[in-house]
Amino acid sequence: MIRVQTDDFDLGAELKALTAGNHAIGGLCSFVGLVRDMAGGEAIGAMTLEHYPGMTEKELERIEAEAQARWPLDATLIIHRYGRLEPGDQIVLVAAASAHREAAFEACHFLIDFLKTKAPFWKLEGTPGGGQWVDARDSDEAATRRWTQSSGKAAE
């Protein structure tokens, strides 16, 4: 399941709903991204997340489908917020549930790595000097490449 929204989310309630009624699930792994108050040594007041409505949902669905094709997953969830966010706010949640922990851990890691380099979101940070578009990081590209060079250990 994927959701793109301005509203905050309740981690506990989301994870509970994700696994509700499925007792084949033995492991649930989640990752939550938060807004930091510093970037490159500069204080960040707030940030605005822009996205590409339509393509964002399609891209998140493609990433989710790819994870489900690689690992034996019972449930997956991606929630990504957009709009104005402040330091400490939750930005993103990815979760993967499986019979065993290895697939859940790996799929969760895969989901956030792919999301960071494929989902069309852009961060505009508010600094004392004005709004600044965040630059993409080479380390994020490298993290994604890792998954394309060797398939996950738990892949079927």
Binding site: G33, L49, E50, H51, Y52, G54, M55, K58, E59, H80, I91, V92, I112, L115, K116, T117, K118, A119, P120, F121, W122, K123, L124, W133, V134, D135, A136, D140
Partner: protein, 87 residues
């Protein structure tokens, strides 16, 4: 081309180009994304500046990532944006 091509610009590409969304009618010689960008650079505003460094321009046609040699046809939705920074 008969039907227009719908263009979308995001993040700093939108700010540099000075436009977020526009319908355009490129000449018939425009067959690929690269040729579309070549033509847009001649169309004024901040478009030439926005496309100055093509290495940092990502392109989606009909909401899927494509390379610069991908074909563009009438009725397509073509989006230009910088490398993504979500998550």
């Amino acid at each position: 081309m008969t039907a227009p091509v719908k263009l979308l610009y995001f993040a700093w590409l939108r700010e540099k180009a000075g436009v977020g969304e526009e319908d355009v009618q490129p000449p018939a010689t425009v067959a690929t994304v690269a040729q579309l960008i070549d033509w847009l650079e001649t169309q004024g505003g901040g478009r030439a500046e926005a496309f100055a460094d093509r290495k940092v321009v990502r392109v989606a046609v009909n909401q899927e990532y494509v390379s610069l040699d991908h074909p563009v046809t009438a009725g397509d939705e073509v989006a230009f944006f910088p490398p993504v920074t979500g998550g």
